[in-house]
């Protein structure tokens, strides 16, 4: 299982890549494997506000639909429209397939997330 060392993780299996006040968010390799073939990704609109822990997107496989939770709070400033036409990218390249970019309202929340090492441990225990 691929867990890049430079990212932060949530216990709901989202990853966060922070650059300044901006955080791109996606789902982990572990999550995409568990879901199987992803057939659709439902994304929020640019301008929506999300709070940490709130569901902001949905990933669908043939037999399941799962909420994706925001690891950090803020305003959505970009959504990855490529995923509408090619949801399979989430399977083939989970860490390249960001869902949204959030302008964080409280970058301090990053400190509450898991490191790659902790996330690896978390997955093993789960």
């Amino acid at each position: 299982m691929n867990i890049p060392a430079d990212l932060k993780y949530s216990s709901e299996h989202e990853w966060v890549r922070a650059e300044g006040d901006e955080a791109s968010i996606g789902i982990t390799d572990h999550a995409q494997q568990a879901l199987g073939d992803i057939v659709f990704v439902e994304l929020p609109e640019v301008g929506d506000e999300v709070g940490a822990g709130e569901a902001f997107a949905v990933v669908e496989s043939v037999k399941a639909a799962s909420d994706v939770y925001a690891p950090v709070s803020g305003k959505i400033i970009k959504v990855n429209e490529r995923l509408f036409a090619s949801p399979e990218l989430v399977n083939s390249d989970p860490y390249g397939s960001w869902f949204v970019v959030v302008l964080m309202s409280d970058p301090g929340e990053l400190a509450t997330l898991l490191s790659a090492e902790d996330y690896n441990k978390f997955c093993e225990e789960e």
């Binding site: 057939v39 659709f40 439902e42 669908e60 496989s61 043939v62 037999k63 399941a64 639909a65």
Partner: protein, 446 residues
């Protein structure tokens, strides 16, 4: 004794033994005895097939039916001709005794028929995507309103009073419980008030809802409402008559975002109000918000084309409380009837039926006005149904018609108290000139 129960007493004895109990009661020990039915339930029967059929025929005989009484009543349910072939196809047990096509390998018949149906509905409505039908036209409209509110994330809807009164009631029932605010738009000269819509629309409006032809039979200017709705980032929902779509511009071309309608006119009998089906179509953009069953094309591992229920992640069995709707069935056999109907009518037949309706309705309208006893209630253009205002109470006119074995029109005052003495008259291709002339004759007091 019972023709549908093959298990004999001897079978029962052997089976109880195999299960390891002495008596059938032991299989019901988990039902507390205080909850067991005591004594004989107060129900009719059992009757033999002959007795039952005799009883039911007697009941059916107490109704005045349309074969003996030519019908000019429409108001949302229409006496269009149902070609003979339809019933023969519907009575194929492989169609009518099957369940929802959960096992596609043994349900390709139903699935392909739905795929063909969906294509036909897209062709009629000018929309990109259709589901495989819902309960009826009225609940389709309620589902469309819910869909528009979800898609726009707004909680208000502008509903024309020229939409079928029962459909409006269903929309209001659904909306009350899901906290959607319904504002009604009045009508002028039989058409939805565009000025009023302009005044009422705001940034909370999810959709404008109109019917075309509307309940009065009149033709709305759809493009105007589409423009208004879209200017405020709202949707346009159109409830359409599928027969009229043989002649009229598809609502999709006028900018509709969701098109629904009562499908009964497409090959389904009147049957005292049901079963009917609602059709429901939308744009590709809103595809994943469309409720109900949807069939898609795919292939098996050898590349054979096949059909399957798809986009199921929208649905209740997966999404549970987050589903687009709770609906988990369609009106499969009614939709199949529509597919057979549209197949045998084909490209030209549907247009011909629409033209017959149009010409006969206008002949009836002119003839009634020529009596001097009826005036136009409205002057807007109409398709197969129109309103006229008489000098007598509508019930009096209808009673006289019934005495002469004619089922008259719909008394509009029932839902619109301001339209006193007005009758809504529907004329389908099923009415002959002779029947129309009799209608006109007996509509007037002698």
């Amino acid at each position: 004794m019972y023709p549908y129960l093959p298990i004999t007493s001897e079978d029962r004895r052997r089976m109880l033994q195999a299960v390891g109990v002495e008596a059938i009661e032991e299989l019901f020990v988990d039902i507390p005895s205080v909850m067991r039915c005591k004594g004989r339930l107060n129900l009719p029967g059992p009757l033999s097939e002959m007795e039952m059929a005799r009883h039911m025929k007697a009941l059916a005989g107490k109704n005045k039916n349309l074969d003996d009484n030519p019908c000019f009543l429409g108001a949302g349910a229409y006496d269009h001709y149902v070609p003979s072939i339809i019933n023969h196809i519907l009575l194929r047990q492989e169609f009518y005794t099957a369940y929802t096509p959960y096992q596609p390998e043994v349900s390709q018949g139903t699935l392909q028929a739905f795929f063909e149906y969906q294509t036909m509905i897209c062709e009629l409505t000018g929309m990109e995507v259709s589901n495989a039908s819902v309960y009826d036209g009225a609940s389709a409209l309620a589902e469309a309103v819910a869909m528009a509110c979800q898609a726009t994330r707004r909680g208000e809807v502008l509903l024309s009073r020229a939409v079928h009164p029962e459909a409006r009631q269903v929309v209001k029932t659904y909306s009350h419980f899901s906290s959607v605010n319904v504002k009604e738009l009045g009508y002028q000269n039989g058409l939805t008030g565009a000025g009023e819509a302009e005044e009422l629309i705001n940034n909370q409006t999810s959709a404008i809802v109109v019917q075309n032809p509307n309940f009065f039979g009149a033709l709305e200017e759809l493009a105007k409402f589409a423009e208004l709705a879209h200017r405020h980032k709202a949707l346009l929902i159109v409830s359409a008559d599928p027969i009229a779509l043989g002649l009229l511009k598809p609502p999709g071309e006028s900018g509709a975002d969701i098109v629904v309608g009562e499908g009964q006119p497409l090959g389904n009998p009147l049957s005292f109000g049901g079963p009917y089906f609602g059709f429901m179509a939308t744009t590709e953009k809103l595809m994943r918000r469309l409720p109900g069953r949807i069939v898609g094309q795919t292939a098996d591992s050898e590349g054979n084309r096949g059909f399957i229920l798809t986009l199921q992640a929208r649905e209740q069995h997966i999404r549970r409380e987050k589903a687009t709707s709770n609906i988990c069935s369609n009106q499969a056999l009614c939709a199949l009837a529509a597919a057979v109907y549209l197949t045998v009518l084909g490209k030209k037949g549907l247009r011909q039926v629409a033209e017959l309706c149009l010409q006969k309705a206008h002949y009836t309208y002119r003839s009634l006005l020529e009596t001097g006893k009826f005036a136009s209630t409205f002057t807007a253009p109409f398709f197969k149904e129109f309103a006229v205002t008489g000098q007598e109470d509508a019930a009096v006119v209808n009673a006289r018609l019934m005495e002469n074995k004619i089922i008259g029109g719909y008394p509009l005052a029932r839902d619109y108290p301001e339209l006193k003495n007005a009758l809504l008259i529907a004329v389908t291709e099923n009415r002959t000139r002779d029947e129309i002339d009799r209608l006109v004759k007996y509509s007037v007091a002698t």
